[in-house]
Subunit: 360 residues, 2 copies
């Protein structure tokens, strides 16, 4: 069964179950796994965050639940119509679309987008589908280049022939087909400026890699794409970020998922991803001391939290994070430009990849 | 002479002039037009902001100028090497690259990026070149789709065949060649979500337009591209933003330029651009009252400022802005989804374009 039919069926099942409850004069309910921190666990074997099995029920005949119950069904019904029409919408479009009065009531179904947004995640969890499969888009972010040809909405797109631009990664990458993938690895860069430099130096050609720029914390679409390239094409994934708590956390999210999206880690995390740099040791190893930035209090606080994460428990990581805390320093990938603009593409990254100088 | 040779020559002339001054034992100087508000004027005939003719000199033998003088030359020399090597760099790359000590001194050439950034604009003004021509990139932002084929870095790119993605507009659009342009107008949308909806509905195909999403205030690259399409291909430009002060200001920047970039309005402004919507009147005309957002104090303050701008003096604009102030309201383009997800692409925009319901 195609994914779209599966999602469609799940939405119909949800509706049918409630109709049956009404016919039996039962109190209609929707069962939703709990997404609070108390129900998020780290699955050591899978190497990713995941939800535990606690659930809660949302009832129609409960004054505290009734509005949320109604809105959850409105969101489900809105998604169903998106699937039927085969179009996509942003969550803001959805909010405006659902904002109305019902029957003789003067009360709005919804007054703030903050009321409908969490319900999308509730549906993701309850139905075990991705928001993208409900045709609700997220902001487009991230670019990619490499020797890859895909098919998307009927067009054949060659990621190696997009000039200076690269391909802008859309919200929904579930529907793209890979026609040919000629690469040995995926290199993910935290910053678009870094992507541009590497792209201009034809780094992806020389290193036979797929180059992805995330522009900060990667979008869902970008994380889904990284996982697809890793799982479907068996490409190792290397992450290249600033040497700071925020950069390390970006790596952590790509590798193990995040607390807020723990319910879909199996769809968007890449537990085998490795950290390529920038490490705090690199600052000394590659003579970047001129480019050191003093860490702020919040950086140090965050670094101390990272030390506690199970997936940062390896001695190499502990050493790096402790070094950052002790010295009170951080550095950006652009610091490599201190050694020359092509230093990153021609020396630093090739060296690291060749000597397998990764953190895991 | 190719643009690159022109820029190269201007950088060389700058250096040669200073060498000559040194040989003549004169006090070396660089003459830079003043960029302060006091020297920004609105050129009514051209319909855009521009710099007046006040200039200032930066001297080497002046304790208050010496460091800035030195850094200005370092920036110019860095640009020269980018042109020689034919590579591009971000301004952050440049900052790290220039950060060093000179001679026997222990003092850094530069300690904060805030010291080098304004010097780039100084050079733009002094040499009358664009920063992009100095090979200093800005952040990539904006997407485009339409029946256009371009050539960029040796690749042929068809903007109509990029799937759901569209082409990500690079920092430097000066170097792209238009191979074929099959469109009657350019429609610029403030929001990427709006772009996605219109793109999915094949709006650019049906309306024979080039569709550009700016993702908020347009990047320099996007403004340059809009101007090129307008000037080189004689395409009228229509701007579609939220009905609020920020949206109106985005239109204003595309049309007339901005104070901070007044020195390059002639390169990035499009004085013939027209405003397509969303207007405050549209909220009533298209029955979007459910989607009204209460304007904040800062919105009203900003609206009152806009009323004073010369290019908002036309009666239609005055009426719209006054309506916003009186009613204290604003609305987003997503509000059109209240009337159905395809309302924007199938009714609102075609109606507006057909009836020429623009503000100018």
């Amino acid at each position: 069964m195609a994914q779209k039919d599966i999602t469609n069926k799940k939405l119909e099942d949800l509706g049918n179950k409630i109709i049956k409850q009404i016919e039996k004069k039962e109190n209609p309910d929707i069962e939703i796994p709990i997404r609070a921190l108390s129900n998020v666990i780290f699955d050591k074997k899978a190497g990713q965050l995941t939800l535990g099995d606690k659930t809660a029920k949302r009832y129609y005949f409960n004054v505290a639940h009734a509005k949320k119950f109604m809105l959850t069904l409105l969101v489900a019904s809105f998604s169903k119509s998106l699937l039927d029409e085969n179009i996509h919408a942003s969550i803001r479009d959805m909010y405006y679309n659902l904002k109305r009065t019902l029957g003789d009531s003067n009360e709005n179904t919804v007054d703030e987008q903050g009321e409908t947004d969490p319900l999308i995640v509730d549906l993701e969890v309850a139905l075990d589908v991705l928001r993208e499969q409900l045709h609700l888009t997220t902001d487009r972010k991230g670019i990619v280049a490499g020797n890859v040809v895909i098919r998307d909405r009927g067009d054949s797109i060659d990621w190696s022939k997009l000039g200076s631009g690269g391909w802008s990664i859309p919200s929904t990458v579930d529907e793209i087909d890979f026609k040919s993938v000629d690469a040995t690895k995926v290199v993910v860069v935290e910053k678009n400026a870094g992507f541009e430099r590497l792209h201009e130096d034809k780094f992806w050609q020389k290193e036979k890699c797929i180059l992805i720029g995330t522009g900060g914390q990667p979008s869902r679409g970008t994380r889904l794409l990284i996982q697809r390239l890793n799982q479907e094409h068996k490409l190792p994934v290397y992450v290249f970020t600033d040497a700071d708590s925020y950069g390390f956390y970006i790596y952590s999210v790509i590798k193990s998922g995040s607390i807020s999206l723990a319910h879909i880690s199996d769809r968007i995390a890449t537990p085998s991803a490795k950290f390529l740099g920038l490490t705090v040791s690199d600052i000394y190893k590659y003579d970047l001391k001129k480019c050191i930035i003093k860490a702020k209090e919040v950086d140090i606080k965050r670094a101390k939290e990272l030390l506690q994460y199970e997936w940062f428990k390896q001695p190499k990581w502990q050493k790096e994070i402790n070094l950052m805390i002790e010295k009170g320093i951080k550095a950006e990938i652009e610091a490599l430009s201190h050694r020359g603009l092509k230093f990153m593409s021609q020396e630093y990254l090739p060296d690291k990849l060749k000597s397998k100088d990764f953190l895991d």
